[in-house]
């Protein structure tokens, strides 16, 4: 039955196609035109517009938000304000959470010593796993709980498509698809999600460029680190300065995205930008409470839980590495020592690079690992909030220049393992996945080297 049906069907397909091709004109265009006619006729009968479509407030608002003159300043100002709110708001709860969680650490230590636990167990569980977890929670939760709802509100208002509209010209000039602005914005949430969203770009060449450069905007996992760095080294009691430096970092990320796209579309992935139409959706009154609750639950807590699940084993592993002695020094010290010269060259140190290596599964845990490396094996440091972290870093020879280099490296280096895996799934190509890892790494190293050299030349480091 099926065989016969298949035969019959294919014959019919052939006959229909042949008959169709004999009809003059592009038959599909004619059909679509006809559908439009019918739709128009129905609307003529059923829809009444009171007056000429008035230029109401949203059209006027669009004229301002996407104007040549004011579009960019408004965009920057909004982003700056969001950062400022995040920095100011996160400060106090972060300190409070830090104090509470490290009070908990002391109680845990008391408990372990009361139970007579062996020191290695105390080390792995409390000094390793718990401390990493405490850092993730106290440093990451408050900024995320403020930043994500703010960002989601902008998204819900309908502002993000306007951002894409504003940026479209830039992307066109870089020889890529205007929709890359959208996938880039998606990357602010999560680079893996950003890479998946590149499916909206039809041209394979442009999609690949969007995938390869998605990593240059900081995702959820990296934002808290950037925020912490900005607050510690550029805030100096003035949150607006920290917000500005954060804004600068994001702008640099966008600039690198455009620059690398430009280079790629003129070298490895040559071609011209394809045309597209972006509809500006109407502004909608955001469902404030729902957006806040949802973005907190779906994004902030989601990222936090993911970070915590990675941080706990990573913390334990780091403690073990930091306390396994081989020829007079810990394994961690060996790795860090090996990376030290290169780290110094690009304005960082071996420990930071080790932290980034161990942080490959998720960028969220780079800072906790770094803290463990610096303090884990050594003397107890009273850690509570950002002030204490700053003290620890300064005691390890950090300067604002180191912070700049760390921000640059974090912003530009290879994507996390999840994103790399997603890139492999999207491209099905080991070659392009390797490019997606190595290209940003090279960019990050060059940028850090330049910044470090410039800083040293100016005497800042």
């Amino acid at each position: 039955m099926n065989r016969m049906a298949a035969r019959q069907f294919l014959d019919l397909v052939e006959a229909a196609r042949e008959a169709g091709s004999k009809i003059p004109g592009d038959i599909r265009d004619l059909m679509v035109t006809r559908i439009y006619e019918v739709a128009g006729a129905i609307c003529q009968k059923t829809v009444r517009r009171a007056t000429e479509p008035t230029r109401d407030w949203d059209t006027r608002l669009d004229d301002i938000l996407t104007s040549r003159l004011l579009g960019y300043p408004i965009m920057l100002a909004l982003l700056g304000v969001v950062f400022w709110i995040t920095l100011v708001g996160a400060n106090v709860p972060s300190r409070f959470l830090g104090a509470a969680l490290f009070w908990g650490q002391d109680r845990l230590l008391d408990l372990f010593s009361w139970a007579g636990a062996p020191s290695w167990l105390t080390g792995v569980v409390v000094m390793g796993a718990y401390r990493a977890l405490a850092w993730v929670v106290s440093v990451m939760l408050p900024p995320m709980a403020i930043f994500f709802p703010c960002f989601a509100l902008l998204e819900d208002l309908g502002y993000l498509p306007r951002v894409a509209f504003n940026l479209d010209a830039f992307f066109k000039r870089a020889g890529t698809h205007g929709k890359q602005a959208l996938t880039m914005c998606m990357g602010f949430g999560c680079n893996a999600a950003g890479v998946v969203s590149c499916r909206v770009i039809d041209s394979p060449r442009e999609r690949l460029i969007a995938i390869l450069t998605n990593n240059f905007v900081p995702c959820n996992g990296r934002f808290p680190m950037l925020i912490a760095m900005a607050a510690m080294f550029f805030g100096a009691g003035l949150q607006s300065a920290a917000a500005l430096s954060l804004l600068g970092a994001v702008l640099l990320g966008v600039a690198v995205t455009l620059g690398v796209s430009w280079v790629l579309s003129r070298s490895l992935l040559r071609g011209i930008a394809s045309f597209f139409v972006l509809e500006l959706p109407p502004y909608r009154k955001p469902q404030v409470i729902r957006v806040i609750v949802r973005s907190f639950l779906d994004r902030a807590l989601f990222v936090l839980v993911r970070a915590a699940t990675v941080a706990v084993p990573a913390g334990a592993l780091t403690w073990i590495l930091g306390n396994s002695m081989v020829r007079g020094a810990s394994l961690l010290a060996h790795v860090a020592g090996f990376l030290e010269p290169f780290g110094r060259l690009i304005g960082l140190d071996g420990h930071v690079l080790t932290a980034f290596l161990l942080g490959l599964p998720a960028n969220e845990i780079v800072i906790p690992i770094l803290v463990m490396e610096y303090s884990g094996a050594g003397a107890m440091v009273d850690l509570g909030g950002l002030d204490a972290l700053r003290g620890l870093l300064v005691s390890k020879g950090w300067t604002p220049l180191t912070a700049v280099c760390l921000i640059l490296f974090s912003l530009l280096h290879y994507p996390c393992a999840t994103t790399l895996w997603t890139i492999w799934r999207e491209t099905r190509s080991a070659k392009w996945t390797a490019v997606a890892a190595l290209l940003p790494l090279a960019v990050a190293c060059v940028a850090c080297f330049l910044a470090a050299s410039a800083g040293r030349f100016l005497g800042a480091g």
Partner: protein, 279 residues
């Protein structure tokens, strides 16, 4: 006991593509599949959330729903599985989203397809409605964003629109939940067949119509076997305009020997009704 098992089968399936999820796991009498189609920015995801209460975040964002979301709701003792298709302007399958939406409407064995429209720019939205109606008669038009309609001082003759289209039209404000109960009632009536629709048929040029008149009857037998929910007229039209993707999708289904037990139950039933094969 029975209801427990029933519940465990209907956990929303997140990221899986809709046609990998076979409908008909549960007794067909208690579960209907509803496809949610619509242009981007019509509040389709808001309608989805309001119906299912799944509460995933919706963004005001073109191309947001690349991944298909699924949810369930119950209404008058029936369980409805809702599939939130990607927002598209047409079903011509020129982009992955359009292809996905079209394939689900064709082969997803939906009992009803809701087309969410932006009532403030109905003309553009009706294109999709008309295209969906060409594939399946079981269509409900959701006239969303009615609050903005009154704000922009537009008036839409809902009853007139419904009689022009020949399918039910339900005005809603999904953001506030206004009209959703009526939408659920209408979905129930269309899915169960209690409300018979008479979808407007777009007629094309005489040459095209002559070809369709020739091809459509010859297609009916095959289509009843492989995809009984798709209108043969629509398939005939696609064959004439030479849509390779659809031909491929149908050929694949023609070639594949479907084991009886995995065939969607509703599909198996209507095949039985048309061809006299015992289900």
């Amino acid at each position: 006991m029975g209801s427990m098992r029933h519940l465990s089968l209907h956990v929303p399936r997140g990221l899986r593509m809709p046609w990998h999820v076979r409908p008909g796991h549960a007794p067909a009498s208690t579960c209907c599949t509803v496809a949610l189609a619509g242009n981007p920015n019509t509040g389709k995801s808001t309608v989805f959330n309001a119906l299912t209460g799944l509460g995933q975040h919706t963004g005001n964002w073109p191309g947001k729903t690349v991944v298909v979301a699924e949810g369930i709701y119950t209404h008058c003792g029936m369980t409805y599985r809702v599939v939130d298709l990607p927002g598209t302007y047409s079903l011509l399958a020129t982009s992955p989203e359009e292809e996905l939406a079209r394939d689900f409407i064709c082969f997803g064995a939906a009992d009803a397809t809701v087309v969410v429209t932006d009532a403030t720019c109905l003309e553009r939205n009706l294109n999709l409605v008309l295209q969906v109606m060409e594939i399946t008669p079981r269509v409900v038009v959701c006239l969303n964003l009615m609050d903005e309609v009154s704000r922009k001082r537009i008036s839409v003759d809902v009853d007139g629109l419904s009689s022009e289209l020949g399918v039910p039209v339900v005005p809603t404000v999904a953001r506030t939940g206004h009209g959703l109960r009526a939408l659920m009632d209408t979905i129930a009536n269309v899915a169960s067949g209690r409300l018979a629709t008479r979808p407007l048929r777009v007629t094309y040029s005489p040459e095209v119509e002559a070809l369709v008149a020739d091809i459509e009857p010859r297609l009916s037998a095959v289509m009843a076997e492989v995809a009984p929910t798709i209108s043969p007229r629509w398939v005939a039209l696609r064959l004439i305009d030479g849509d390779p993707g659809l031909v491929e999708a149908i050929s694949e289904r023609v070639n594949r020997q479907w084991p009886q037990d995995t065939r969607p139950r509703s599909a198996a039933r209507s095949v039985a009704a048309r061809s006299g094969i015992p289900a």
